[in-house]
């Protein structure tokens, strides 16, 4: 039973274009032109309760725009969204009660107020019962270690502290689904870990649905069973992380230690990417050559001491997809 349904979602922005320079400025005075940006094009997907979905894509792909439509901030140009049978931008009141939102780039808290006062206001805004509020606050304080800065105004918090405060704020009212737009942006390793653990905990124990966008593949590996990938506003992949890797993680690497100095160690079908003394690293694509085949042809010519085969990591896979525009070729 799908909880979130998105059907043929589109969003087009109208952007004013400015001409540059002195003459341009004068012409701007007289007329202003607009161009259309198709930020999201024809996206459909469904998400079940309790899922934890990673939403990936290069800069400007349309991730934030999608999140903003899902949260009811933006009204789509066309297409439908329902979250538990509610249309976000039409029944904003009911919708927002059930969701939590964090924008990594910008706080949703009150800039001048101490964190704890922001929470108090939220308790009031969402009508959170007192005992429930206390319970949650206690839990989040433990998990996110909010105690040290709960009396500091938001504007004086460090990025990591602010993110934790925002995360707690988004969950105070026990939302059913939480949208996180780059929740680990700019954080150090420890802070990232803490936030990841927190998200995982809430997802598994409370069954809260999470949708998160990120550029940090650590987030994806640690958290997401399912990923969606979008580029130029189009949904290019939707499935388990493993499948993404199997399908596109084509380039494997083979590291060989030779027993002797050889003049020419090149093998057709494999690319030498590094050579250091007697150690050579090859990159080869899964489709063109199997590992055993490559090892076999090496062993025929040279004497080998040691071998390591490296599977592609997620980061490389994704870089590969972004750079080569693999998926968009498939779709077009």
């Amino acid at each position: 039973m799908s909880f979130i349904k998105v059907d043929q979602l589109c969003k087009t922005f109208k952007v004013a274009t400015h001409k540059r320079g002195f003459v341009g400025a004068i012409r701007n005075l007289a007329s202003r032109q607009h161009s259309l940006v198709k930020a999201v094009q024809d996206i459909s997907f469904q998400i079940k309760r309790g899922e934890l979905v990673g939403y990936l894509g290069p800069n400007g792909a349309g991730k934030s725009t999608t999140i903003k439509m899902l949260t009811g901030i933006l009204v789509p140009s066309s297409g439908q969204i329902t979250v538990g049978n509610i249309i976000p931008w039409e029944q904003r009141n009911q919708h927002t009660r059930r969701i939590g939102v964090v924008f990594g780039q910008r706080t949703n808290l009150w800039w001048d107020l101490p964190v704890i006062e922001s929470f108090d206001l939220l308790k009031y805004i969402y009508n959170v019962p007192e005992d429930r509020f206390k319970q949650n606050l206690k839990k989040f304080e433990d998990l996110l270690e909010l105690g040290e800065f709960s009396n500091t105004p938001v504007r004086s918090l460090s990025l990591g502290q602010r993110m934790r405060a925002d995360l707690a704020a988004a969950l105070l009212h026990d939302p059913e689904v939480v949208f996180l737009d780059e929740p680990t942006i700019g954080l150090d390793v420890v802070a990232k870990d803490r936030i990841r653990t927190f998200i995982k905990e809430i997802n598994q124990n409370a069954g809260v649905t999470f949708i998160l966008t990120t550029h940090d593949l650590g987030d994806v590996q640690k958290l997401c069973r399912r990923v969606m990938m979008i580029d130029h506003g189009k949904l290019l992949f939707d499935g388990p992380l493993q499948e993404l890797q199997d399908r596109f993680g084509q380039e494997r690497e083979l590291e060989v230690d030779f027993a002797d100095d050889y003049e020419d160690v090149s093998i057709p079908g494999a690319k030498i990417i590094q050579q250091q003394g007697r150690q050579t690293t090859y990159r080869f694509s899964r489709e063109q050559m199997s590992a055993s085949k490559l090892i076999q042809s090496l062993a025929e010519k040279f004497q080998i001491i040691d071998l390591t085969v490296r599977e592609p990591d997620v980061e490389n896979t994704i870089r590969h997809i972004y750079e080569k525009k693999l998926l968009s070729h498939q779709n077009d």
Binding site: H18, F22, A25, I26, N28, L29
Partner: protein
């Protein structure tokens, strides 16, 4: 040259605000209408043809001129850009740059002023005659003297704002004081009503300040209210303020900078 480039930038920057400029013209003109009808009613009720040397037509022209050049001369709008950077401490980075601080802002702001004279002032002077008869300078010389006076008024206006901004070096709440100074300028410069409508004692107070040199002087020259010796005297006083106020600003700024450097902000 840097300062010329800054002047151009200041001018150009204003062009980005197309709708603001149009809205500004409309608003200035609407206020002009209101003030004109107020003066018509005042002359009507006073039963006189001339008040303080102003005929009704002069008074109407007065509203046209003040509405046309008031934003350029910083009476309708004010700025707190320097004050802001002092308050936030960002000024430190500006001070490390190789330019003369006062001239830097003067050039930029003159760019804005000239833009506003052309794109906010002239349109109003062009529209006004469709509604009311205005007084015009009677000779080329008068036009030139008016332009000269207007130019000096711009510099004095800038000094007034700059000087107020500089108070931020000393007072945390200089902004509040600056706002008062700005509002007071509307009254004492002869922007709200001509200084010759004032009772003598009040006018005497005003004349001790540089404020009349920003509005009252150029207007009296334009209208021909100031003539002969009085005219040269007014221009001389304006020139005095240009020089004196520039020096005052420079000294104030230096003292402020010194204070900042010594106290570390």
């Amino acid at each position: 040259m840097l300062y010329l480039a800054l002047f151009r930038k200041g001018f150009q920057r204003m062009m980005a605000y197309r709708s603001a400029t149009l809205a500004g013209i409309a608003t200035n003109f609407f206020f002009g209408l209101l003030r004109t009808y107020l003066f018509i009613a005042v002359f009507d009720a006073s039963g006189q043809v001339s008040i303080g040397g102003f005929s009704l037509r002069d008074a109407i022209t007065f509203t046209a001129l003040t509405q046309a050049f008031g934003s350029s001369l910083g009476i309708i709008n004010w700025w707190w850009e320097v004050g802001k950077t002092i308050e936030s401490g960002e000024i430190i980075t500006d001070l490390t740059k190789p330019f003369h601080y006062f001239s830097f802002w003067l050039s930029r702001d003159l760019g804005r002023m000239v833009f506003q004279v052309i794109f906010r002032g002239l349109p109003i002077m062009i529209v006004y005659p469709f509604f009311f008869e205005l007084t015009w300078p009677t000779s080329m010389a008068q036009w030139l003297l008016f332009s000269l006076s207007l130019s000096m008024a711009m510099i004095i206006s800038f000094c007034w704002h700059f000087w107020m901004n500089c108070l931020s070096f000393w007072f945390v709440n200089a902004k509040g004081f600056g706002r008062f100074a700005w509002l007071a300028a509307a009254f004492f410069s002869g922007f709200l009503i001509p200084l010759s409508f004032f009772p003598d004692w009040l006018k005497a107070i005003a004349m001790w300040t540089p404020l009349p040199a920003i509005i009252n002087t150029p207007i009296e020259i334009y209208l021909g209210v100031a003539q002969g010796a009085a005219l040269w005297e007014a221009l001389g006083l304006q020139l005095f303020w240009v020089i004196a106020f520039t020096i005052i600003c420079e000294l104030t700024f230096r003292a402020g900078r010194k204070r900042l450097v010594i106290q570390g902000g």
